[in-house]
Amino acid sequence: MTQQQIQAIFDGTVITIEITAVSVVLGFILAMFVALGRLSKNRIIRGISWFYIWFFRGTPLLLQLFMVFYAVPIIYLDYTGQTLNMDPMVTSYITYTLNTTAYMAEIIRAAIESIPEGQMEAAKALGMTYGQAMRRIIIPQTYRRLVAPIGNELIILLKDTSLVSSIALSDLLRTTRTLANSSGSWLYYVYAAAIYLFMTTLLQLGTDQLEKRLGVYERR
């Protein structure tokens, strides 16, 4: 492999990591709100959250990517008469964040619902408001339970970023394919697989560790 090729693979990997990292962090924060929205007493808030999750889980990720990349500029043109060029990287941040938010919201909602009713009651009996009880009592207890499913979502997300090649982003997979096609060697696919495996393995090990650490209070 030439220096150039190695650089290309490296750059592709960085793009993959960037999209994953940005969308997982933003997605988790948004998902917390959507999950609380799903559990809200207010019917409208509950409805909006439900619709959000319904839409983003119910349509293909690739379609969502195209909608942001191609449809949004057309809509923008229709309404303002001005052209808008969506940057592929920004498109990816937006789409993957919105998409993973829907999945994480359901994970967080399930985790919140798994905390025994008595915890909220004890908090209320001590005079805490719903918000205080959520922030200080309920949500902290979900952290350990969230690590495994969120880790799982993270791994899926990392692999799904390979779809960005369809909006002309040179992520790890697209770079590999270009190199393989131009050189006629299948070895590049092996390199790509190795890099994906390396990253997912790190995530796996990381989440295992985190889960152990967060579960301190559950061990006798």
């Binding site: 004890a122 209320k124 009996a125 001590l126 005079g127 805490m128 200080r136 006798r220």
Partner: protein, 269 residues
């Protein structure tokens, strides 16, 4: 006797007729099921009231209505002679200032059958958290109070443990400490020893007895007839959503007048 104690006793005498919680015609329905069918109850300052009765008779629901974990269908609740609930057919009829309700609700502490300690917090944190975030008491003061109440229940040495590493009896004593750290005027206990192994019941009852001796107003739902006999000022027998019989422990436990009370006592003794 030192001066503070003397004052306390004098205040106690003056206040002993003061109503701490009063319930009028309290009804509670879950859907079509009427669980409480018109309860009248008045608990005076410093009084210890034990509620006994078969399971499903509405004892827990009554306590939960008192501290607003459950909203009543109709009836009135007064806390320290101030109206906090006035409802008819599931609707509030007297608008009551919500700040006042929150303030009065803070005067009611509760201890649950399953302890409900916060498992992710240490014993100390369990006791400190509510004074800090609800009463906005600073950390040092909250710490001092926490240590004090933990000493009262004999568990100051466990302050850095997580609840799961304590026995059931110890967990329940921490739950009591957590409640009294908020300095309530009335304590509700919902079968505080029912989830405990028999050998751990005594230590919790002992803690409750000590609390009663400090003059705390207490409403205790329990199957511990011995405790009721020894500590209660008044015993209430509830059955099918009504107060079936009430009176001093001697009357209700030793000489029950109602057949249902007799039948119940025969079953559990």
């Amino acid at each position: 006797m030192n001066e503070d104690k003397l004052k306390e006793v004098q205040n106690g005498l003056e206040d002993s007729e003061k109503s701490m919680v009063r319930v009028e015609e309290l009804r509670k329905q879950f859907g079509n099921l009427e669980v409480l069918k018109g309860i009248d109850l008045d608990v005076k300052k410093g009084e210890v009231v034990c509620i006994i009765g078969p399971s499903g008779s509405g004892k827990s629901t009554l306590l939960r209505c008192l501290n607003r974990l459950e909203r009543l269908t109709s009836g009135k609740i007064y806390v320290e002679n101030e109206l906090t609930e006035d409802r008819v057919n599931g609707r509030t009829v007297s608008k009551i200032d919500s700040d006042k309700i929150s303030r009065l609700n803070l005067d009611i502490g509760m201890v649950f059958q399953n302890f409900n300690l916060f498992p992710h917090l240490t014993v100390l944190e369990n006791v400190m958290i509510a004074p800090q975030i609800v009463k906005k008491i600073n950390k040092d003061d909250a710490y001092n109070t926490a240590i004090q109440v933990l000493e009262r229940v004999g568990l100051a040495d466990k302050k850095d443990e997580y609840p799961i590493r304590l026995s059931g009896g110890q967990q329940q004593r921490v739950a009591i400490a957590r409640a009294i750290a908020m300095d309530p005027k009335i304590m509700l206990f919902d079968e505080p020893t029912s989830a405990l192994d028999p050998e751990l019941v005594g230590e919790v009852l002992e803690t409750m007895k000590e609390l009663a001796e400090t003059g705390m107003t207490m409403i205790v739902v329990t199957h511990e007839i011995g405790f009721a006999r020894e500590v209660a000022d008044r015993v209430i027998f509830m059955d099918e959503g009504v107060i079936c019989e009430e009176g001093g422990p001697q009357e209700v436990i030793l000489n029950p007048k109602k057949e249902r009370t007799q039948a119940f006592l025969n079953k559990i003794l």
